[in-house]
Amino acid sequence: MGDLARRYGPGLTTIILLLVAFWLIMLVIVPNLTLLEQSFRPYLPVVDVGGPKDTYSFSNYLKVFNGEIETSVLGITFHIPVHVKTFLLTIWYSMVVTVACFLLAYPLAYFMAKVVNPKTLPTLLLLLFVPLWVSEVLRAFAWWIILALKGPLNWILLGIGVIDKPVRWIVGYDGVVVGLVYTYVLFMLFPLYNAVSSLDTNQIEAAEDLGAPWWKIHWRIVMPHAKPGIASGSVMVFMLSAGSLLVPSILGSTTSQWFTQTIDQWFKDALDWNTASAYAFLLLVLCTVFVTVAMKLFKVRLSDIAK
């Protein structure tokens, strides 16, 4: 801090400190603390707020366990609270999306980093950036058009005779997963590309020279080196997927429910901001846990992920 004052003088230092303080305190810390505090309060009519009924309790969080429904996984049938189910399915499908994005992006990242002619690379990057600049809502909408019952996908498949009657693509979580993968695959691609391109090509050639088959070169040399990129891409894709409200709302079916949609319903439909806060806080905890686990698993730091 002394360094700052010495370099920029007391006036500028004060301005800089005030700006950062406004950001971190007023826009980050206090809102989140308020959210936490609010989540323990009951939802009351305006007249009762601050009255004797306004006491702290866990009741908002306990609402997660209300309303059991019958579910079956792998042939085993059991009862599970509906919101817990939504929560778990959100985690599960976000992981599916993350893995799918990795599988799709890795070959291309390797191609761009190590194989492609450096002259065509900028053009390739530019073409990939185009969908990134087109907004998320439109990208989800595009898949809504493609996957529609009378949409172009069914039309083509009927045309070439692969299917004989239109397939309903948007069932269960299928549409959501397809949409999320399309929307977020580039958030996996770019960190992976950065990580792989920092690998010395001689390392690959040395391994090849020592007799490694191609898949072992990837398993032993390229992927270990790209670990920070894999971690950063996975964290980004998982967080964006689990936190997405647009894609599940547009590409969801009657049987799919995303945890953010549940939060949205508490907030917008039930107007119960307190329970919405409790649920939002659960989402925040989930994300924190995921990031922490990913960092431990891949042995990377937060600053590596931010790259």
């Binding site: 040395a206 391994a207 020279d209 007799g211 072992k216 270990p224």
Partner: protein, 360 residues
Amino acid sequence: MSAGIDLQDVVCDFGSFRAVDHANVSIRPGEFFSFLGPSGCGKTTILRMISGFIDPTAGTIRIGGTDVKGKRPNQRPTALIFQNLALFPLMPIWENIAFGLEMRGVDKATRRAKAEELLKLVDLPGAADKMVSQLSGGQKQRVAIARALAVEPKVMLLDEPLSALDLKLRQHMRAELRTIQKRTGVTFIYITHDQGEALAMSDRVGVMSQGRIQQIADPRDIYNNPANGFVASFVGENNIFEGTAGAASGGHAAFDTPEGRLRARQVAGTEGKPVRLYVRPEHTILSATPAAENSVPVTVEEVAFEGAFISVHGRTATGKPITAELRNDGSATVPEKGAALHASFDPARAALLPDVDVRH
């Protein structure tokens, strides 16, 4: 154990650029062979063609008598040591060394034992569990050699592996490499732009320029009997005279220069071609009186003391710079600046050479 390598009319083009132009060389089994040349002369391309990372545009490469066309790097009995060594930073030393064995499905205990054995061979016992980042430059060098030796190659290919080291260590590693090569008996092919390195270590040297092999000979011949002006200049200093060659007799020819008529060795095959006269500074003698032949009057301009020898820089009447080297052993009198002397040389020590390879 070790294998010879034959290159027959090997050509390599990158687009319109010819990186290697009809290279022909036969490297003997167990030989320490160096390709020497400035950067961009095509020596690294030759190495990468032998190792299989680049396919030649034309010509044949044989390793141990077998044509290796179409064989991938890992199917050739060669091991490459990269300029930056390319050690795997995320694996401990022993895994680095045993990587090739792991790829061949050797079990872990055997791999570990082999790694330890090789570490002893390269004088690094006890380093097995260290990480690459813990080693010094010279130690990394040894690990790279051990890693290459682990796959029991018949030929080792070394791409300027010493260039990252400082001078003292480089000289030490020269001797070390030579010892390891003799101990293992493997054919070494060594790429360098450092003539001292090539001459000190090799059994034979191939000097390259602009994609062509200019001369292949043992180090002594390269220095004493260079095939052309490029080789002469690349491996040492010269006093060069321009002129026209006259009639030859007994392997020597007269050479008319603005400084007068000189005589020097004629190299076979250069008759009638434009040549220049090359003589080394250490073969240039300074005297107060003119010598019987090859004598040119010079004025001393500068005397530079360089330790083991003394360089005397002078100029002829026509303004041509001449350098003579005197050994600093008290045998010669050191001339004063401004002294008028005569420079002369033995015709057997001077050669009439074309600029570059004239075979094509």
